[in-house]
Symmetry: C2
Subunit: 630 residues, 2 copies
């Protein structure tokens, strides 16, 4: 039967006996659920007025809802099954049932890996020293681990030596040793072998995302994120590096800001799950090269000066105490390797998480952010490029642009009859336009003939097109529809900002395909990664030429693969080795030195591209809408 | 010709054309000379009144002395040659020409080893980065070293990453990399590969000795020492541990004192030789287990409580910055392993330096100090014991006892005619008695029949024997001979203190021989080590039963082998591995648990021992002197 999801207004097909949690997810609604759909968490609340179309209340539902709520039609989506094949069912999804995480991609595609963290916890009941057993405390621990687990060449962290003698005696020789890579980094009282956590951290130019991970089963226990507190010092990397170079203690200042922010996230993650931060024994960190250098307190100056070389490219292991993260004081901080000045540890994580370096198929991987990275290749080799796509996709540099938060227009379309449809995050009255909305707007204006392939307004005899002192603009939402009683418009300048951003990414794709000697049709898989990428409409992305014209079934939105890459490295020693291997396998292409770069950049400014024969599907759609204005 | 050395009064034969530096050394005078006898250092000043017996002033002498000095007869010993075969030449050796080091054993027996330090310096002229060579700064350095020296798995110390980008550019890519064990710990401008120093440090309970060593040729460049500044907190180990346990911050306080003292020594060593402390890249440290723990800031409490186990026994590598030594900030501090609570890193160094663990011959090694260590064995295995011999041999607990400094009686004998002969350090009027003097006194009183085999005064009808309120005493020097116009006496209590000290060492020797199932005659080599040991009269040491009755040709005085062991570990990676191997090869025997311990301790209180048949040579000497008083 047809299910109408309110207040979003989406319609989706449901099979008989299908539960409504699945139905909602099929419709792309990121409904909250933490128990895997068994009715325990009580998060997937929906409201159904016509209860005759669905299964009866289950026992767990009666437990979660009051009588009043049941009378109002409250149900748990996971417990409610569609009973018929035909007909229409209307369900209301309350705001609180929709994941707040929805618009921040803090998870990504995850490969299956063998869980084999570098952290090990070993419970030991030690022999007490006597005149007949005079071994030192350290030797006693090492011998015991060696005997039990046959681990050789063990070392003890110097910093715990101060505490070991008192602790061993206080704990009556019954302790759990924590090992990192054959180094004993801490001991705890009794058997604590079940408490073993790690962190995966992605330091983005705009956002810092932090996952708390159970190192025993590899599951993500909690997620938190925050805006990068360096933003006030420059929205893009170059301005932050300039700040570091020109201000005394600038590096220390920006470095501390990030660390404080991560510490806040750690506190939140642990508090919410009642986990002791001392039980976090390792963190794996990714980020672009500038974020990587600044976080580590390494001079980023030469990342801003030709030829833009990093100080260090190898992975780094360093103690949490030295870095200043508030987890176990002897925890290891592992920072993934970087490839070059513009292709950082986050890019290594992208490639690692998607596994394209192992595939036979030819892959294109685009990680869209303020800086975007593009990779083309497979197990035979990978080319990489970086481009400054700018913050337009983050809603910046757009007159009514905003971040992807409540009230942002995130979807937009113009129907054949000229009617405008938009959707805001959390279905509130619109207050602005986020990145995915902006891509939709430019695509729809283009496909419907309001702008030409250079992005210029042409079909201006429409009531929604107005003239401002900065040129024409299109009214996306009339002032009576908006939260601030003011027209939300999309101007000529806004269109150009999106063109600039998309042309940077497109140019990277074109030049890398040329270097690789392949065409669009040779690409078997296109992975779109990044916090923003996941919310893109793929057809509209093709329509504006943000991505090459590739059949949409070959496109996968893989989300925040940077953090996925960090996570799998946290869980697997082998994956860290692969990360190093990847940096050697990837060849970085400096686009600026390519003689074709300026021409390609200009060609890519066109919608979707100067040579329309490269975008047959768009040509088709333009024909269907009978747009012939250019 | 005969040369009379004044003011010491020694007479020595000199060959024609022999230089006077050699002549003095032949006479056992530790005359200062730092240039190897080529006249450059100007330290070996002597005064000769009768210049007609010696060669004329050389050019370098004229450079070193003023006219006045030349008129006074000043010469450099190394430049002055004896001109005749017959006759008598009198020379005066001024106090400032005699090495102050004389009575502090800051060097020891040194094995021949292959010089192969863990520190390497590699001069590099790096390719500059360009758009066609985008390697990171670290990769650039690593590749260059790999290419030049085929060293793999190189890492860069995190702490220098901050400086590397600016330094490389400031130094125009012409640098010297400093490696420690495949880790790049620093870079310097241009080619500094000839400047490469290390430190060997022995932290003794009483003294801290520091050698500055050239890591290129293995030579000791300078030596300095100082009293252990912890002495005011307790002369022996136990009182210092008590201080640490009972005082808040006691551990930190005592630890800092040692570090400050070492830093002072480093400053002195470098200043005197015009060496930059930043060119010191490694230090190897030895010390007994308590000094080891306190230096490292590790709780020494359980070294004072049965069963006396150390916290850590393995060797430790730690950065100088972390420890707080003022050498290159990324230098490595290597602390040798310890064997047990009472057999420390100094003992490991003793065994390593003497090489007894590789010998076929059965060896006895005694390192005499406030705590003494005794080892018996060879390549087939070694037994070790420790004993609290106390500070009597350092001149403490003796009424007129003093350290081995100027004015101390260091040699003593009673001639057949009853005449007393003594010798003071620097030939000044006596002010007290140092350890070697005290051993001589007890031995001579015993052999000459003034005390019996229990150390009691017997033959009291001698003008030198007086009665005090604490029993009899022997006048060593009449008040008119002494510096303070006061008789220097050696009392019954003083004799007992020496007996106690020697009995502790002797008991260890006897019990270890029993465990090893050998007798005195099975011992092929006896090594006497320690700051004090070198000045002992071997026959007198046998006479009092400080050491077993072993033919003196089998005895070697090996000096401060603790520091020699540290030095060879500084110069050789292989020797560090051997040090670890030694700790496994040595079996520590806890003497206190041996049922025969109390009886042996009592027997060893006798002079030389209760069973005189174990001291045939002493029996012989007593017979020759016709002593039959017991």
């Amino acid at each position: 039967m047809k299910v109408i999801l309110e207040p979003i207004g989406k319609i989706v097909d449901a099979r008989k006996y299908e539960d409504l949690l699945k139905v909602c997810r099929k419709a792309g609604i990121n409904i909250l659920s933490e128990c895997g759909g068994i009715g325990v968490c009580g998060k997937c609340k929906i409201i159904i007025k016509d209860q005759e179309f669905v299964s009866k209340h289950t026992g767990v539902e009666k437990h979660h809802f009051s009588k009043e709520e049941i009378n109002e039609g409250y149900r748990l989506a996971c417990q409610t099954k569609v009973l018929f094949t035909e007909g229409i069912l209307k369900i209301i999804i309350p705001k609180e049932s929709i994941s707040e995480k929805r618009k921040i991609q803090s998870i990504g595609f995850e490969r299956e890996i063998q869980i084999e963290p570098l952290i090990k916890k070993i419970h030991l009941i030690l022999d007490k020293p006597s005149l007949f057993d005079l071994r030192s405390d350290s030797q006693r621990i090492i011998d015991s681990i060696m005997k039990k687990y046959n681990i050789h060449n063990l070392e003890i962290n110097f910093d715990i030596l101060k505490d070991i003698p008192n602790l061993l005696r206080e704990y009556d020789w019954n302790v759990t040793a924590i090992l990192w890579n054959n180094k004993i980094i801490d001991i705890e009282k009794g058997d604590t072998s079940k408490l073993m956590y790690g962190l995966a951290i992605d330091i983005g130019t705009s956002k810092i995302v932090c996952q708390l991970i159970d190192l025993i089963n590899g599951e993500t226990v909690n997620i938190a994120f925050e805006e990068n507190p360096q933003i006030p010092y420059g929205e893009d990397i170059m301005s932050r590096i300039t700040y570091v170079i020109t201000k005394e203690n600038g590096l220390k200042e920006l470095s501390s800001l990030v660390k404080e922010s991560i510490n806040k996230l750690i506190e939140k993650l642990c508090l919410e799950k009642n986990i002791n931060p001392n039980n976090i024994y390792e963190a794996v960190i990714v980020g672009n090269t500038a974020m990587h250098h600044i976080f580590l307190g390494i001079q980023p100056k030469y990342l801003a000066l030709a030829p833009y070389v990093p100080v260090i490219s190898e992975s780094i292991n360093i103690s949490s105490k030295k870095i200043g993260l508030n987890i176990n004081k002897n925890a290891n901080i592992h920072v993934l390797p970087v490839i070059g000045g513009f292709v950082g540890a986050d890019a290594v994580a992208d490639v690692l998480a998607t596994g394209i370096y192992e595939l036979d198929e030819m892959c294109l991987l685009i990680d869209i952010g303020t800086n975007s990275e593009v990779f083309i290749g497979n197990k035979n080799g990978i080319l990489a490029a970086s481009c400054a796509s700018g913050p337009a996709f983050e809603g910046m540099q757009i007159k009514y642009g905003m971040k992807a938060i409540s009230g942002a227009i995130e979807e937009f379309s113009i129907k054949n009859n000229g009617e405008v449809i938009y959707k805001t995050i959390d279905n509130l009255k619109p207050i602005g336009i986020c990145g995915s909305g902006a891509v939709d707007i430019v695509a729809e204006l283009f496909i419907n003939g309001f702008i030409d392939n250079r992005g210029r307004f042409i079909n201006i005899k429409n009531p929604r097109i107005i003239k401002t002192d900065k040129g024409y603009a299109y009214i996306i939402a009339w002032k009576n529809e908006t939260a601030m009683n003011e027209d939300i418009i999309f101007s000529q300048e806004d269109i150009n900002a999106i063109q600039l951003a998309k042309s940077a990414i497109h140019t990277a794709c074109v030049l890398l395909m040329k270097k690789m000697n392949i065409n669009e049709e040779d690409i078997d898989k296109l992975f779109i990664a990044g916090a923003f990428g996941n919310y893109l409409n793929p057809i509209n992305s093709i329509n504006i030429g943000l991505i090459p014209d590739i059949p949409i079934e070959r496109i996968s939105f893989v989300g925040n693969t940077a953090i996925s890459g960090a996570k799998i490295c946290l869980l697997s020693k082998k994956m860290r080795e692969e990360a190093s291997f990847i940096t050697k396998k990837i060849k970085f292409i400096e686009l600026a030195t390519d003689p074709e770069f300026p021409k390609e950049l200009a060609n890519s400014m066109y919608l979707p591209y100067k040579d329309l024969s490269k975008y047959r599907s768009v040509e088709e759609r333009l024909k269907n809408r009978k747009v012939t204005n250019f």
